[in-house]
Subunit: 151 residues, 2 copies
């Protein structure tokens, strides 16, 4: 774990809004020169604080209008069945995120589909046939708001 000063935090906050910005543009916003800003970004990357950059794709524009969150409780859970379940779940193309969690459920999946009919197909053919699935609970996404979070 690295310790950051306020300047590092300002850089991270600015990057959280738009990761397209150049070191020079970021520096101008926080009152720092281009090389100084660049060196700080590099340091944050080397320290692993900045783990990478990801494209944000609009699933609606791609024709996937339905996003569903599934809470899954396994019927059988040894070490092997957890690995089997994860391997099978990550192999489903419609599954975007597989989260191993502690609580009422064992796994949480983020699933996208073209429409509700398409989702039902995925649910019946792909999800319900996963190794070890027990109880399944679903929540359909209406709107989503992302925030930078604490830095």
């Amino acid at each position: 774990m690295i310790d950051l000063d306020d300047t590092d935090r300002a850089i991270l906050r600015a990057m959280a809004q738009d990761a397209t910005q150049s070191a020079g543009a970021l520096g101008r916003r926080i009152g720092l020169s281009q090389p100084a800003t660049w060196r700080r970004i590099k340091r944050l990357e080397d320290a692993g604080v900045i783990a990478g950059r990801r494209v944000v794709m609009d699933r609606e524009a791609l024709g996937f209008g339905v996003t569903v969150f599934l809470g899954i409780k396994l019927a059988t859970k040894g070490r092997v069945s957890l690995e089997d379940f994860e391997r099978a779940a990550t192999a489903i193309p419609e599954v975007q995120i597989v989260q191993h969690v502690l609580g009422l459920f064992d796994y949480r999946l983020r699933v996208v589909a073209r429409d509700i009919a398409d989702f039902e197909r995925v649910l019946r053919r792909r999800i319900m046939t996963l190794p070890g699935v027990g109880q399944v609970e679903a929540n359909v996404l209406l709107t989503e708001e992302r925030r930078p979070g604490p830095i």
Copy 2:
């Protein structure tokens, strides 16, 4: 909605893995020249398929080792209370994502905290005092795997 050919899909898949790659590098991977690749990326951006680029921050490296998903059922839900809830929830620094969903719960929140003690503070002081909260269910994140999803 735009229709994509296999080349567009190949570009999106490559970018989903690593958004740092230049148009030239992407082109080499899929057998296309730098200008041709660049034009396609530009087209995908203009069409809104590529909605932006986001930095991936390692919350562990930042000292936030605990991520919890909360399912929240509202006690009172008129149009006003939904807006009140959303406004208040997005104002909490520890809340990364606010999802309005349909199903057993009304909202799902992704919350990060330094440790379990810190999470309890957020839960008691911030979450339980949100306007209209009824039932709250929690799942602690153990591991998370992201996949490109269908393109």
